[in-house]
Subunit: 344 residues, 3 copies
């Protein structure tokens, strides 16, 4: 591959910061300190990687000003090397698949569907009646988009994404393979020992600049809509129940389950394998640890955790047995306190 | 959309209850108290929504007899407004996609497969040899159904469902996108530091009136079959291991994992993100909380829970540290009790 | 079905052990003690199933030498009946789907892709530019394989598997439906209240003899690669984050989440619904219980657990309330100890 290359001087002209050392050095890719080769730009954002500085084979490095003297390599000095690296990497590695506009012959397009002529519709895609695909969209192989659904401009759907009917998806969306948007929420009512299905007639509304990881599912609303705000980032295998609302720029790690009608604030960070019960409300700027179950609303920003700490199975067995008697133990301590008090 | 509309009188003629107020009022859709518009029917099932009664713009409302005087809107009075609403909504919003019978030209049909002439087979579907699709079935885009598999009448498979070979699926099934039925169970035997694969030669047998949420997986049996009873409702991203048996009318919420050979009773309700170990047996009418791990059999109906309660990360750190010393703490309390006793 | 049948003598000639009783008995399938019929071979590996011995209708049975006299059926005596059974079953039930070599007319093959003439490419498959499919591979309906990706010989991809571009997959791989390999890892950097996407330019490298369960996701590396060692067995709905490395012959049960850059040793066994935090290291031969969160590195082989034990919801409520005051309780016990000490 003949990758295009850029001088450090050109990089700082584009992204800010300043060069210390040879500004005419050329770089064509980013890499880690450990694996970087000649022609590659690396970065130091975390002190724990300082030990790798001496041995790196990178051509140049991005550093904070306080670290600028730790290396003699050509370097870009800036305030936040990780963010800087993210921008340079995005410049060198455009996310958008390189495809040509047009509709593959094997795609099946519903009546009244409107596809912008700059969009790409891949093989074996199906598009429902009256669906709308915006300018510059890339809809890859085997995606299925329901009737009346709208996909905003410059969005990418990787292979085998399913969007049900009547959903509204924003611009610059990135949706990874296996995602299902707009399936029925889990709405059932008990009657005489059986379950009646509650039709799910709401929609899914997704804002702009959202990314959704592989095999994540977002259910349509029961009556109202399920709403994902602008800039939300969802990792893989997340489950979003019906009528959930997620505020702008919240990020959620993999395998998290969010039950129906939960309302999550903006700028939250939710760890992986966590769970949020239905009808819960979570304030803005809340951080939730991995593997934590949120069973009541959180009204204040802050970090919240609830994890049973692991230990050797043997030790766990002894301690876990006591968990089952904790209330008794607390009662015994209270009685001891009273007994002592009485003797004084 | 010109939705068909119905008078309240026609609704009660069909579904029971009685009208208070204008029985000639027309409704064409259901909605929440908060979002309902003219022409829409809403319901009051939960006292916590009473405050929204005054402001609703609904044309009519479903209420219990004890709430009949809380509003002056035209109203349907009945025993269980939520169930009543479910039935009216199902009447106004038929779940079944409107498609025409027939086989799409791009579908690939195996030798000996039998498709009822009233069934719909969508684009890019593949059907294995000798598979059978019942009357009125809707198999949407990109589904793949293995050889010898049988799908009962009036079932719906949303886009990109996969059913492996030799499975037996009931009638009126609803299967959402991304579901995988009949993949191999996790059967491996250790030999000399490596794993031997155990062929999974059982089937998946699913009863009638079952619904399966998006991206849920149900493994085929190892030797015997995996069996899902009539009326079972499964939410999204559930994992059902090989040889599991689930009794009739049990409902399981999203992200739950059920390990191999577990046997779950009828009429159970299992919360989201919960886990059930292999070979466990669970009685009928058991309720399991979200985020709870069931590590031994449950012989009696009742509600069972095991969640580490969350708190601020700081508080959690202090308490979790003690969890690792609980057995010691209990021992210390016992010694204190003896010390006190000796002094008396 | 006219299944081929074999005499016990032929089985032991092939797989070792020796026959006690009629070596000329024919068997054509394996089954459990409980369900076996005439013509079937069963096994006794676990003492708890001894009670079923008397009633089995199997034609023959695999037993350990110490159990050889518990039955009068024709029997194969060997050291490890479960492993022996696994091998006979694999012989009688070849895992590989029976398909013919060649490329289905509906498949869409990218420029420069190389497909071995002995491989099978099913309907509606898409293959990116320069992808390589090895000898004897079976790529079933609707799979999508990205540009430059390599699939080793004799691998099976079940319907609707997605592999992104530039991944390297080994030989004799079994990948079940809905699996997504090589989607972007969750790499985001905060800047001014928004998230910047970090391009994920690493690959996924998978060794030989790996099996991957339905709807599991394995993200590509951020800068370096995500690496799955030889002989690794992954169950359904597992999430593997970017840059994770899993050592050889490790087995992981369903619904487990492994966060980015975790390094897991060889020969580990990880229970279902468990979680492993990012950047954690886990030694070889570590066993982790189901539903356990590993929040720091494990340096020694052994079994590790961290599960909140379940109880009736009522009992749980009382005990869980105390978990929130555990540090206080420990403090009170310490004070009591001092008070007692002072009195002595």
């Amino acid at each position: 591959m003949n990758r295009p290359q850029y001088q450090l001087n050109a990089i700082v002209a584009k992204f800010g910061g300043h060069v210390v050392g040879e500004g005419v050095a050329f770089i064509n890719q980013v890499a880690t300190l450990e694996k970087a080769q000649a022609g590659q730009l690396t970065f130091l954002a975390n002190n724990r990687y300082r030990a790798q500085l001496a041995a790196t084979r990178a051509t140049a490095i991005i550093v904070r000003s306080e670290d600028a003297e730790l290396t003699s390599l050509p370097r870009i000095v800036c305030r936040d090397p990780y963010v800087y690296f993210a921008k340079v990497s995005a410049f060198l590695n455009p996310t958008k698949p390189i495809v040509s506009a047009g509709i593959h012959a094997s795609a099946v397009i519903g009546e009244g569907a409107h596809i912008d002529p700059t969009a790409h519709i891949g093989p074996h895609v199906t598009l429902g009646a009256d669906a709308k695909i915006g300018a510059g969209c890339v809809v890859m192989a085997g995606c299925s988009i329901g009737a009346d659904t709208v996909l905003g401009a410059d969005s990418i759907l990787y292979p085998r994404v399913v969007v049900y009917h009547n959903c509204v998806l924003g611009q610059r969306l990135i949706v990874h393979s296996g995602v299902v948007i707009g399936a029925d929420g889990f709405g059932i009512a008990p009657e005489a020992g059986r379950w009646l299905k509650i039709p799910q007639i709401g929609r899914v509304i997704i804002g702009d600049d959202v990314e959704i990881g592989a095999n994540t599912t977002i259910d349509r609303g029961a009556l109202d809509d399920t709403i994902i705000g602008n800039g939300v980032k969802l990792d893989n295998q997340i489950q979003i129940g019906h009528n959930v609302r997620i505020g702008e720029h919240t990020a959620i790690a993999a395998c998290t389950g969010i039950a129906g009608s939960a309302i999550i604030g903006s700028h939250c960070r939710i760890g992986g394998c966590s769970g949020i019960l239905g009808h819960i409300q979570i304030a803005d700027h809340v951080e939730i640890s991995s593997f934590t179950m949120i069973g009541k609303s959180i009204r204040e920003a802050g970090t919240y955790t609830g994890i049973f700490p692991f230990s050797s199975a043997q030790t766990w067995r002894k301690n876990a047995a006591q968990v089952r008697h904790l209330a008794e133990l607390a009662e015994q301590v209270k009685m001891l306190q009273q007994a002592i008090l009485k003797k004084e």
